[in-house]
């Protein structure tokens, strides 16, 4: 099962639109345009699995696929670690 965690080289700053993630290694900025996604990114490592993190953040079941895709893209951008 995929497990995500915030990358140790990434800083998150809350913003009105959601949050801004800055990777100190790649110097890339990523805008997280959704409060629920921000919650998932901040807390996913604290849950047993990503499904639990999505549920705890209040992501509707019908939108889970979209959030999972977004999380994978964040992992591809090294905002999240994935194992």
């Amino acid at each position: 099962m995929t497990r995500y965690a915030l990358h140790p080289q990434v800083g998150l700053r809350d913003e009105a639109f959601g949050a801004l993630a800055y990777h100190y290694g790649s110097r890339r900025l990523t805008f997280l345009n959704d409060a629920r996604l921000v919650t998932v990114v901040r807390t996913v490592a604290d849950h047993d699995d990503v499904d639990a993190a999505l549920a705890a953040a209040g992501v509707p079941d019908r939108r889970r696929a979209a959030y999972l895709t977004a999380l994978q893209r964040l992992a591809d951008a090294e905002i999240l670690t994935c194992e």
Binding site: R27, R28, L29, T30, F31, L32, N33, D34, L37, R62, R63, A65, A66, Y67, T69, A70, R73, L74, A77
Partner: protein
């Protein structure tokens, strides 16, 4: 000086507000792209 700004997503559409109970498969792709937006600030020295 060269500046490079790349944006993977530029859109003002809110897919979550579409109101469809059973979203079409492409809706998930659209929503996923709206959730995150990447920008490179390499080469932007002097701008900030």
């Amino acid at each position: 000086m060269t500046s490079t700004v790349t944006e993977s997503v530029v859109s003002t559409t809110d897919a979550t507000a579409a109101g469809a109970d059973t979203p079409a498969p492409y809706d998930d792709e659209v929503l996923a792209e709206l959730l995150i937006e990447e920008i490179s600030i390499d080469g932007m020295c002097g701008v900030y």
